[in-house]
Amino acid sequence: MKKRIRAAIFLITILILILVFLFPLYLVLKISLSKPQDIFVEKPTYLIKNFTFEHFKSVLLSGETFLNPLKKSLLTGILASILGLLVSIPAAYSISKFNYKLKYALILVIFMTRMIPEISIALPITISFIKIGLFDNILGLTLAHLIRILPVSCFILVGVFSGFPDELERQARIDGASASKAFIKVVLPLSLGGITVAGIFSFLLSWDEFIYASYLTLARPTMPIKMYYYISRGDIFSSATYAVIITIPVLILTFALQKYIKPDFLSGAIKG
């Protein structure tokens, strides 16, 4: 009986928390699906009164105004996650071979790069990027995004590789594989789960990034910048619609990944 009460309290707490977290999201969704006359009133209702796809239609059918930012955000995200993996896989693999103390010291150092506020390094970065022709293009923004991505994906991958059974790698070496071949033929295919997680996290970190993008874009905005453009013009319907469109892939990917986002994941309990 006691157990049940405790379970019930737990459940109710969780539900309340979920509601608190989801409420702003709901408001955005509501605005994007409501007619203006239901929003610009003194006492807006919580429920949608007059349902409409008008805003979505106008955003989705606005041609290049919508498609170009979408393309830029997607391409930057994909490029950033691929480049990020190419750099962080070997880095994390090497780090994972150190002993426990050194390993965590190194991870800490990597994360220190994130202690510098983005807003303060974005300016010098922009200045040097303008000089070398990386301003307002995908490659430049990708490189800037790697500043946020690399520590996180390294951290995830160090966990993945540290949890990899040493014996399998040793076996491959015994079977005649050089260290690099053992990595490619055994470690890599068996770590694909963890690598995918790191890649998708990287994508998400780039997808909704705002500060670097606001410095480094001029004529070719990303999705968050485009959304900000509507906010600054006071078009709350378009910005709410953009917000929903930006959020949907985040929700889907996070949901798909949830089985990997567990406390024991980083301690290496992942099984290929």
Partner: protein, 358 residues
């Protein structure tokens, strides 16, 4: 093919000294068993031979060639790990083929070799399976197959049977002997199980705390243990070991502990004469006990243990000192209460306080 030689090997992990002063020559084509309790450095020794670990000091030779720093893929040795280490993403076929593919052998050749090996190990109908679909014994055979198919110079087995149940262990034991008879290659086999070691090894290397204790054929290890550790580690039930003071009374040499006195016959006393007045260890196996009414040792039977054909009596000879004695059929009258017995003087082992054989 050549002899494997380890010269003055030391291996440290941070503060732990896993191996100290290891000198070992393993003859080409021999079946060598490395035996010792868990944590004594057996796996470290194998890893060193395979090239997976590097010695802190010392050298490894294969024949005349020094291979100390050679990486494992240049050594042409096969190793089977305790947990088999099958590649979970590959089928049995691909697991066995792994080494051949690395060597870039022809597809046709690979097929032929695997067919041959899987037939020998009775794995033909398992080739398409994934490792997680196999039983423990099958996994073990796949791991062995993966080692055999590469036709290496040297086989290293790290407790390959320790994860299996007792019956299977005995069953698969003979497989290794047959394998050795067939391929005639050097096999180095690690185990912590002294019965397994005795059953398999032509030559047994006993290790304790990273130091080699004795290198002998199985029979010699049992009959002439070089120190107290080997004496107590080999044999089941273990050897009885009791500390005595050596004294001389008239012309007789006596072992004395509290009120227990054992008089020795003259033929055994020569080698221990120099220890007169000092403490020494007496060791004797349960089978060295001879019951009889005239026996000079008196004891109280605590209980009798029946293990299959044999029975062993646990006997208290002085307060707090128990020995184990084998009971023969004709000793069936060894019942409860008190018994008298002698220890076969020829079967006595003596060790000094440094635990070395006298």
């Amino acid at each position: 093919m050549a002899d494997l030689r380890l010269v003055n090997i030391n291996k440290n992990f941070d503060k732990v000294q896993a191996l100290s002063g290891v000198n070992l020559t393993i003859k080409q084509g021999s079946f060598c068993v490395i035996l010792g309790p868990s944590g004594c450095g057996k796996s470290t020794l194998l890893n060193l031979i395979a090239g997976l670990e590097e010695a802190s000091q010392g050298k490894v030779y294969l024949g005349e060639k020094e291979i100390t720093g050679l990486p494992p893929h240049k050594r042409n040795m096969a190793m089977v790990f305790q947990n088999y280490a099958l590649y979970p993403h590959l089928s049995v076929f691909e697991n066995i083929a792994f080494g051949l593919r690395i060597k870039k052998e022809k597809e046709k050749q690979i097929k032929e070799k695997i067919e041959q090996v899987s037939k020998a190990l009775n794995l033909e109908d398992k080739l398409g399976r994934l490792p997680r679909e196999l039983s423990g014994g099958e996994k073990q055979r796949v791991a062995t197959g993966r080692a055999i198919v590469r036709d290496p110079e040297l086989f290293l087995f790290d407790e390959p049977l320790s994860n299996l149940d007792a019956r299977l262990r005995v069953e698969l034991r003979s497989q290794f002997i047959k394998l050795h008879q067939r391929i005639k290659k050097t096999i180095i086999y690690v185990t912590h199980d002294q019965l397994e070691a005795m059953a398999l090894g032509e030559i047994i290397v006993v290790i304790k705390n990273g130091r080699i204790q004795q290198i002998s054929p199985a029979q010699e290890l049992y009959a002439v243990p070089q120190n107290l550790f080997v004496a107590s580690f080999i044999g089941s039930p273990p050897m009885n070991i009791i500390k005595f003071t050596l004294k001389k009374k008239d012309t007789k040499i006596q072992l004395i502990k509290e009120n227990l006195v054992i008089e020795l016959t003259n033929d055994v006393t020569q080698k221990i004469l120099s220890y007169l007045g000092q403490d020494i260890y007496l060791g004797f196996r349960p089978s060295a006990v001879r019951f009889g009414p005239a026996g000079q040792i008196k004891g109280k039977v605590i209980f009798i243990e029946n293990i299959g054909e044999d029975s062993y009596a646990h006997i208290e000879i002085i307060e707090g000192t128990e020995i184990i004695a084998k009971v023969n059929d004709k000793d069936a009258r060894v019942g409860k209460n008190s018994v008298n017995f002698n220890i076969d003087n020829q079967a006595m082992h003596f060790f000094d306080l440094q635990e070395k054989r006298i």
